[in-house]
């Protein structure tokens, strides 16, 4: 992208922290149509394949004493199940398959993106915005189907004094519509910023004097990114649960 200017300022140092996010067609050519297989679609498909390998093939035998892959699958299932039950309530459990799918896809896309030379699909707003918009639409539709016009009570804070309520209603309305924005940008921004920082340190490794520091810094940042990859998937899922709880129980 616009990184050439930085390279010139660093005294000829080649410095392309954002180049890892460029989408390229897999089989050559320059034009990208909606059906063109690109590196983004490849790594998204690989994330889906990884989820299938863990959750379908790994648990196929269903032994009482679980194999390693089965216990990891059970751990993931129990983790998300408990999260939905605790945060969104018992009646939200019919949305558990959707939330489980979201969590597994994001966590695997994040971890696959941490492999060297791979492509991080969740660092693209196009991917996360679709995920967040689907959550937003689902939650809004569920709210209106379940409560009808009563869902609008979410914006009418009945515990506040009467003169304050219209002001609060406007604030609540804005915060409701900002939800998909913050929901998607939080995931993409965190992942993208972390990967860009790793690449910035990798650029410094070309200078002999600071290269040991930079290699140590890359290692430390990588450790942090492993943590961030999981925590951001967790945060995305738990916020989905919170929004779902708001839709199912809109009273304040």
């Amino acid at each position: 992208m616009a990184s050439e200017a930085h390279g010139a300022e660093e005294g000829g140092l080649v410095f392309h922290p954002m180049d890892q996010f460029i989408i390229k067609p897999l089989f050559g050519g320059d034009t990208i149509h909606w059906y063109t297989p690109t590196n983004a679609t490849l790594w998204m498909a690989l994330a889906v394949v990884a989820v299938i390998i863990l959750m379908v093939l790994g648990t196929r035998r269903r032994a009482i004493i679980p194999s390693r892959s089965q216990s990891v699958g059970e751990l993931a299932y129990g983790f998300v199940y408990k999260m939905v039950e605790d945060v969104a309530g018992k009646d939200a459990l019919k949305f558990f398959p959707y939330i489980m799918t979201l969590f597994m896809f994001i966590v695997f896309a994040n971890f696959l993106g941490l492999l060297p030379m791979s492509f991080t699909t969740t660092s693209h707003f196009a991917v996360t915005v679709v995920l967040a918009l689907l959550v937003f639409l689902t939650v809004t539709i569920v709210g209106f189907v379940k409560h009808g016009a009563g869902f609008l009570g979410l914006f009418w804070v009945s515990s506040a004094p009467l003169p304050l309520r219209p002001v609060l209603a406007i604030i609540e309305l804005i915060s409701y519509f900002v939800r998909p924005v913050s929901h998607s940008i939080r995931l993409a921004g965190n992942v993208m910023a972390g990967h860009a920082v790793i690449k910035v340190f990798a650029g410094f490794a070309a200078i002999a004097v600071v290269s040991p520091i930079s290699v140590v810094a890359i290692t430390a940042m990588y450790g942090l990114e492993v943590l961030v990859a999981f925590i951001q998937a967790y945060v995305f899922t738990i916020l989905t649960c919170v929004y779902l709880k708001d839709a199912l129980h809109p009273s304040h």
Binding site: M1, A2, M18, M83, D86, V87, S182, I185, R186, G189, N190, A193, I231, Y234, V235, I238, L239, V242
Partner: protein, 74 residues
């Protein structure tokens, strides 16, 4: 000239990340002090902790987004 001003603006927008850091630190620190006073209640509040951190962090991410837009879109 305008491109350089955009870079200055991007640097100013990055201050927002520091403000978000203060917010996240506040949430985590208060959680820790509460958790050390009453460790038995700590485990049930980790979900709330992460939700609070996520909300505090969102505004820092917005600042980061403004910086990115200034760097690459203006």
């Amino acid at each position: 000239m305008e491109g350089q001003l955009a870079h200055i603006g991007a640097g100013l927008a990055a201050i927002g990340s520091g403000a978000a850091a203060i917010g996240v630190g506040n949430v985590a620190g208060n959680y820790l002090s509460g958790a050390l006073r009453n460790p038995s209640a700590a485990a049930s509040q980790t979900a709330t902790l992460f939700i609070g951190i996520a909300f505090a962090e969102a505004l820092g991410i917005f600042a980061f987004l403004v910086a990115l837009l200034l760097m690459f879109a203006v």
